[in-house]
């Protein structure tokens, strides 16, 4: 019914020149003193703990495995002893987590059955290895295997969609990071394509990474059915729903994840995890995360052990003496960390942001030229000058009633009217809003970001959605 835009996202917003965008500097983080490992990570339900308090664990040892429902195994990520198993809040949900004190040794237990040549795997052995390494919990809806690792069963997989672009404000061009890993990526891609019985594979690359797209094309020139497309760099082009619609031309129904049309969405980091799992038997114990935002001393990419608490990251990389807010994820969709010592970087976290807390009152703020302010409108001088723009937690204005400027409608990546949805939902009329495709909202947060009346449109929409779900 709705029209899909093959060329790219409808509306959307291009974040340019944001202060605190990571540079392509890489650093390995030291093994932390302790890690917090939630038993719910990535896609899937909570797994059952296999260890008890006081047990010795090794990095790479499986400590959680689901017995029913969809889930993938959870691994310890450091060598040491389980100090505590308790409930924590992780990404806005309560979950059980193991706190493991580490002895700062770096060895990792690998899995058996790894083969250097990825084309030699049989379907069963590959499925087993992917599942046991925990890789299957990555991606938007998990990686379907013969085990119960995804909401999609293996024979229903129709496309593999790979996102090689990241469009959030603090995104570092993917091509810059993975330029030297092209051959690994291609091997993983081909292995997965074979694994899913030669389904079509679509790769979306940002227009900023033309060179990367070219090298991918060169090394995949022999493979059939792998398409590489260069897409616009507008946020939220890399959302699984949008990416699936753009690349495959198939519409994802409102309120559904891309698995409803048989699409498996992965990103390049996930492909690298697949590669390491298959070629080295490496379980998911560490990953690269980007440090974005002006609250960090230096913005770069670091490799951390999964479960490293936010407090350790901030102690090592944060700017001292500045009040900051730590977000798990990008600044638009990231969750704020309540208790830094108990907020881990889980396996699905790609980026962390640390933005400055700004409760200062700026004298005559609205009359200033606004050299550092980012805005959708072109009111500020920053729109005409090549200056770095700053993002902080200030609201930058008072709450006002909606003035119907329609910025939200212009910028929404779905054909929605966020202002109407807000109007209905904030008055408890979610039923009405449903007729305006309330469920089609993918919660990208852009409408709240641009609203000059500072209305939290997305919060209202979320409330409305919950109301609808309750009624069902």
């Amino acid at each position: 019914m709705s029209i899909c835009f093959r060329k790219g996202v409808r509306g959307g917003y291009l974040f340019k020149n944001i202060q605190g965008t990571p540079k392509a500097n890489f650093e390995e983080m030291k093994i932390p003193k302790y890690v917090v490992i939630p038993f719910t990570q990535g896609f899937g339900e909570q797994t059952k703990p296999l260890v008890n308090v006081g047990d010795k664990v090794k990095a790479g040892q499986m400590i959680g495995k689901g017995d029913k429902g969809i889930s993938s195994p959870i691994h310890a990520t450091v060598n040491g002893k389980v100090r505590e198993i308790r409930e924590i809040e992780y990404r806005g949900k309560k979950t059980l987590a193991a706190i493991v004190d580490s002895d700062s040794s770096t060895e990792v237990v690998t899995l058996d059955g790894a083969k250097k040549d990825l084309s030699k795997f049989s379907q069963e052995s590959m499925s087993r290895l992917l599942y046991l390494s925990g890789v299957t919990s990555l991606g938007a809806t998990g990686l379907p295997t013969l085990e119960a690792s995804s909401s999609l069963s293996m024979d229903k997989v129709k496309f593999l969609v790979v996102s090689a672009l990241e469009t959030q404000p603090f995104a570092i061009p993917t091509g810059l990071v993975y330029q030297s890993k092209v051959s690994e990526i291609c091997q993983a891609l081909q292995a997965l394509q074979k694994f899913y019985k030669d389904i079509p594979v679509y790769v979306g690359v940002s227009q900023k990474d033309k060179k990367f797209a070219q090298s991918l094309r060169d090394s995949l020139s022999q493979s059939k059915n792998i398409e590489i497309h260069v897409l616009s760099h507008k946020y939220p082009q890399d959302f699984p729903e949008i990416l699936t619609e753009t690349l495959t031309g198939v519409c994802v129904p409102d309120g559904e994840k891309p698995d409803s049309v048989g699409s498996v969405v992965l990103d390049i980091a996930d492909l690298m995890a697949v590669y390491h799992a298959l070629s080295e038997g490496m379980p998911l114990v560490s990953r690269w995360i980007s440090l974005g935002g002006s609250g960090y001393k230096e913005n770069k990419l670091v490799r951390v052990r999964i479960g490293t608490p936010a407090s350790e990251i901030l102690a090592q990389f944060g700017k001292p003496g500045v009040e900051t807010r730590f977000l798990l994820g990008d600044p638009l969709t990231g969750d704020v960390a309540q208790d830094l010592a108990l907020t881990p970087v889980g396996r699905e976290i790609k980026s962390t942001s640390c933005i400055e807390e700004d409760a200062k009152r700026h004298f005559l703020f609205f009359m200033r030229p606004g050299l550092r302010a980012d805005s959708y409108s072109r009111i500020f001088a920053s729109s005409y000058l090549p200056l770095e723009k700053k993002l902080d937690t200030n609201l930058h204005g008072e709450h006002r009633p909606c003035i119907q400027c329609s910025y939200c409608e212009d910028i929404c990546p779905r054909p929605l009217l966020p202002n109407m949805l807000h109007r209905y939902c904030s008055h408890g009329m979610a039923e009405e809003a449903k007729g305006l495709r309330l469920m089609g909202c993918i919660e990208c947060g852009l409408c709240s970001y641009v609203c000059p009346s500072k209305i939290s449109i997305m919060r209202d929409i979320q409330k409305g959605k919950e109301e609808l779900k309750k009624e069902l």
Partner: protein, 400 residues
Amino acid sequence: MLRKIFDLHYKMLEKYPSLRPFKPLIDAGDNFFYGTPHTTKEKPYIREGVDIKRFMIMVLFAVLPAAIASVYFYGQRAILVILASYIIGGLTEVIFCIVRKEEITEGFLITGILYPLILPPTIPLWMLSVGIIFGVIFGKEVFGGTGKNPFNAALVARCFLYISFPLYMTGGAFVEPYPNSIAIENNKPVFQGLGGFTSHRGLFSHEIKNGKFDAMCEATPLAKMKELRLKVAEQGSTPEDYQKYMNYVKTSLPNLFWGYRSGSMGETCAVLLILGGIMLIAMKVANWRTILSTILGGAVCSFFFYDANCLSDKLYLMAFTLLSGGFLFGAIFMTTDPVTGPITQTGRYFYGFAIGCIALLIRRFSGYAEGIMFSILLMNIFAALIDEIVIMVRYRGVKK
């Protein structure tokens, strides 16, 4: 320094509870000079820099050239009129907010300057005050203040005056602008010296008709054109009549463009209005959809409504209708008032087009010389209906 004053006020508020009602006033001042101390509480945790104050101030900056031109053309009295509008209207707004214990919002910043600019230069100050009080109360406050008003407050105020005191709002109320016509007839440049900047004729008087106001009354170009056209349309009109009609249209075009003509204070100088409009569109403050479709609607209708002997005459007429009267001012500053227009972007095309058409319809077929005010007010009513239809069509397949 300023900070201290505000803090002092807040302390006084705490000490004397009887002063409580004035809190909105102090809040408004405080918020005006200092940005907000609030930080984000919900996702997303970052917000962009534009707020309503900035948004509104930009409209003010865009209309400022036209306001300055009004001083140039009509003397220092224009300043007085604008000030009076701000003070009286602002007071009304403040009183309402205090009574209702609400925050004072920025909406009046715009109404306060747009309103005097669409009045004749000779408007008596008391009448102006009555108008703005009516406009603020019945155009805005009864509906719940800025953001909820279905009508453009400035237009409601003007409409009220137009109907209550037609004598002061039509015909003789319009005077010839500075520099006066003698300079023009002698082929001197139109822009000469300081124009009205140095004149304080009739500052406080409204006795213009008795000669205290030393400019000549002059019909607006639209009224003159209407008169000439009627003559052409009459039985037994001669080719000379037609010639006269077209001559008038042609010769007045440059004056219309540069603003040398009689009319409401701010609406005369087309070039400054167009510049303001371009500025607003470039900054994404005004919606280009409304502006363009209004102008398009006006152009199309003027093409069909006004007869002429050849195409070039028709084009002259079209340019004349678009530049004359309050059409440009309305299209750029009144139709784009986002609150009173439709919500949907698609709706804005229809809204604008209808405004342009209805304005021309009124001009051509009714007794009024100018129709843009009525057409905008009329379409304000239908804005919600347009939205309804657009939404119905767009979401027709969605299951409830």
